[in-house]
């Protein structure tokens, strides 16, 4: 027999759980039952979410069908903002750049923390030190990190990276100063900055892998790589999937790196969707095209929502398999 347990720990009878015979609850009952208290305790959360999350979202939806500079009266323009954005040749460049960033970030940024975490799990001594070192970049404020990397990336033979590479006969490389080099350079810095957090997640997940599995595989003669392939990775698949989806969503919204490193240059080679939204909103000093900015924001949100739905569906099937 299935027994449902309420959060308070009492066992509910199946009939009660189905709601049969439940007395009608009037306002007085609701009040006596502590409804007012619940509402009062809920109120701060509702206010904060309402003001800082829901209101801007609703406002964005409204603004996406308006022409407004937030100073003069807005005018209703229907779907013109969406048409304008879709007709902008820079949009497709931005989408292409964002996908390229996401691809490179997956190619380099996704496996690096996993490999680092697995290797750190294998070391016997100084694991704490390695964890701290891996996490250190996350502690550095992102703007500081970008400015530091910008300094390292200086083009020409006198830049820090170019000087170091010059010692082994490589370079000088243009780094941020070339359309084909700029995006990989951004991904490198972003990977450095973001890997630490993911490493910690993987390390935490690795501790939950039962030691018996490793023992059993050792008994079966498995070496390091076979243990990783047959034990570690299957055990981590849930976490791996979550970090993958989070990374896809994160990279689709990449803004900080292109904004601070290159401003979208050279020649729009690093203009991403979010940077384009920013440009719509703020590039024109006489009042931005906030309608176009919110229209593109909504389109991006719709695409990310599709990803999220896929994520929920897939994780559901994974958890039951």
């Amino acid at each position: 027999m299935t027994v449902t347990t309420s959060p308070r720990g009492d066992v509910a009878a199946p009939a009660r759980a189905a709601g049969a015979g439940r007395p009608r609850r009037g306002p007085a009952t609701w009040l006596r039952g502590g409804g007012l208290h619940s509402l009062v305790f809920l109120l701060p959360l509702l206010v904060i979410f309402g003001v800082f999350s829901w209101f801007p979202i609703v406002r964005a939806v409204i603004m996406s069908v308006q022409e407004t500079n937030l100073v003069t009266d807005p005018t209703f323009v229907g779907l013109d903002n969406f048409r304008h954005v879709l007709a902008d040749p820079l949009l497709w460049k931005a989408v292409q750049n964002t996908l390229y960033f996401a691809f490179l970030a997956l190619l380099f940024g996704y496996p690096v923390p996993l490999v680092a975490a697995v290797l750190m799990r294998e070391v016997r001594r100084g694991r704490g030190l390695y964890s701290a070192l891996a996490y250190l970049p996350v502690v550095v404020p992102p703007v500081v990190a970008v400015l530091l990397w910008k300094f390292f990336y200086k083009g020409g033979p006198t830049g820090v990276f170019n000087t170091i590479l010059g010692w082994v006969g490589l370079g000088p490389y243009p780094w941020l100063q070339d359309a084909s080099w700029a995006m990989p350079s951004l991904v490198l810095a972003a990977t450095w900055a973001g890997a630490g957090g993911t490493v910690i997640i993987y390390l935490a997940a690795l501790t939950s892998v039962p030691a018996e599995l490793y023992d059993a595989s050792e008994v079966d003669g498995a070496g390091l790589w076979r243990k990783i392939w047959h034990v570690t990775l299957p055990q981590l698949r849930g976490v791996l999937f979550i970090t993958l989806i989070l990374q896809v969503i994160g990279t689709a919204q990449v803004f900080l790196e292109p904004y601070l490193f290159t401003g979208g240059g050279p020649n729009n080679a690093t203009v991403t969707v979010l940077l384009l939204i920013y440009r719509y909103a703020f590039q024109n000093s006489l009042g931005g095209d906030y309608g176009a900015a919110t229209a593109l924001s909504l389109m991006l949100a719709a695409v990310l929502a599709v990803f999220s739905v896929l994520y929920f569906r897939l994780t559901r099937s994974w958890s039951t398999s």
Partner: protein, 464 residues
């Protein structure tokens, strides 16, 4: 216990909610409350660029103290400020601009049309020297109704060539003979770059609309125009004119044939100043007045600084592009703030140009704090008034004027041209990637890039 805890908890939650709501409602329009019932006015004003030196801040605070002493009913609240297209738009939309803010000449007309500037005509006309302004400069801040909305304040400048005398010497060049032709600029840039590995002999801005601004300046210097406006104010984009093509080819040759432009091609107004002050740039073009901010923000070594006119080609319409800064007041302030604002504009920006006592007092305060006095700019009034002013402050002039003679000897004879009047910053923004492409892609097709940018610029201009 239960009965006392519950009300206390409810009260706490209620207080927190009320606090949150109060905090949220605190972002209302502060300008409405700038004048209190006692007639005391709080006036927020632009102070210095972010990151200015302590001495610059001290000098500014001295000026504020002097103003408040003379105007006890005005409380001045200085706010650091750097005009950038992106941050200005956000501040404008958010209503967080100071009561007296600075805008470039190019933005005034658009802001007036959008109803975003207060009508300062009555306050402006009351100034004793209102009729003495150079009419061309005054026009920049005048609306179609003939009212003055933005007041010529901080400066008016021609674009000039700034050069590093130390780098000139290191390359065997005479620092007292700056280049007068673009061919010489190229030749000198190559020598500087060859003698100083890693240093850009010549650099140009490329970001945040400044790439388009400087491309336009150099186009005008070669006799080209990026936008032509007919008598009916109908604007035609002419980005593919020979002057712009020649400028881009010049940049391409310096970058790819001579390799004399260093390794950083993503520079804007602030970052090129920074590179120049750090001795990483031999020559670049920018407004003639930047020496002041090079000292205040970048601690440039005065001995290394040199200023010359931008080279002009032999083309018949070659000219020096001008620009300038106006002071504006938000449209939604009350009369009390407008009256206070004009007093500040008079005190801080203008009176020192026409009144000997104010000129001397201002120069004394700046010089006492090691701030630049005497940076050459275009006269806001007449040439005679400018020269008179220079005489008044002669004892306090501390900028290396003898290193700027190439410019100061020629500044009144320069053929001047104003910036394009329509969609100026948006067209500049379109040109940024063009300049970047030429500097980062050896095979960049200049004609194709310009044709594409021209189509987009015309679409913008057609929007009206």
């Amino acid at each position: 216990m239960k009965s006392t805890r519950k009300p206390a908890a409810l009260a706490l939650v209620g207080a927190l909610t009320a606090g949150a709501l109060a905090a949220c409602s605190g972002g209302g329009d502060p300008q409405d409350e700038s004048t209190n019932s006692a007639g005391q006015v709080t006036l927020s004003v632009v102070s210095l660029l972010p990151g200015s030196t302590e001495e610059a801040v001290a000098a500014f605070e001295d000026q504020v103290a002097e103003f408040e002493k003379a105007n006890p009913d005005i409380d001045v609240q200085p706010e650091e400020y750097e005009w950038k297209a992106t941050t200005f738009a956000a501040q404008l939309a958010g209503g967080t601009l100071p009561d007296v803010f600075e805008i470039p000449f190019t933005d005034a007309q658009g802001l007036v049309e959008n109803g975003q500037l207060a009508d300062m005509d009555a306050q402006f006309r009351a100034l004793p020297y209102a009729e003495q302004f150079n009419p061309t400069i005054l026009e920049a801040g005048t609306g179609e109704d003939g009212h003055v909305y933005a007041i010529p304040a901080k400066n008016a400048y021609p674009v000039a060539l700034h050069y590093n005398r130390q780098l000139f010497e290191s390359a065997g060049l005479d620092p007292d003979s700056p280049p007068t032709t673009w061919e010489q600029v190229r030749e000198y840039a190559k020598k500087i770059a060859d003698a100083n590995p890693g240093v850009a002999g010549y650099a140009t801005m490329t970001q945040n609309n400044t790439g388009g601004w400087q491309l336009t300046a150099q186009t005008v210097a070669r006799g080209g125009r990026t936008v032509e406006t007919d008598a009916d104010q109908k604007a035609t984009a002419t980005l593919d004119n020979p002057g712009t093509q020649e400028t881009l080819q010049f940049l391409h040759d310096l970058r790819w044939e001579d390799e004399s432009m260093g390794g950083n091609f993503l520079l804007d107004w602030g970052s090129i100043n920074q590179e120049f002050a750090a001795g990483q740039v031999g020559m670049f073009t920018s407004g003639s007045d930047i020496y002041t901010s090079l000292v205040q923000t970048n601690a440039v070594d005065p001995d290394t600084y040199g200023l010359a006119p931008i080279p002009l080609s032999d083309a018949p319409e070659s000219a020096t592009l001008t620009g300038g800064t106006l002071a504006g007041v938000p449209a939604n302030v009350d009369e009390g703030v407008k009256d206070a604002a004009i007093k500040w504009i008079d005190f801080f920006y203008l009176n020192k140009l026409v009144d000997e006592d104010r000129a001397v007092a201002d120069a004394e305060t700046l010089a006492k704090n090691d701030q630049p006095v005497g940076t050459p700019v275009l006269p806001m009034f007449s040439k005679e008034q400018y020269e008179l002013n220079q005489e008044w402050i002669a004892d306090y002039v501390n900028v290396p004027l003898d290193q700027m003679t190439a410019f100061t000897d020629a500044m009144f004879d320069l053929p001047l041209a104003g910036e394009p009047s329509q969609k100026t910053q948006e067209v500049y923004a379109l040109l940024d990637p063009v300049v970047q492409a030429v500097l980062t892609d050896e095979g960049a097709d200049i004609d194709a890039l310009l044709a594409d940018a021209n189509t987009q610029a015309q679409a913008l201009l057609d929007q009206g």
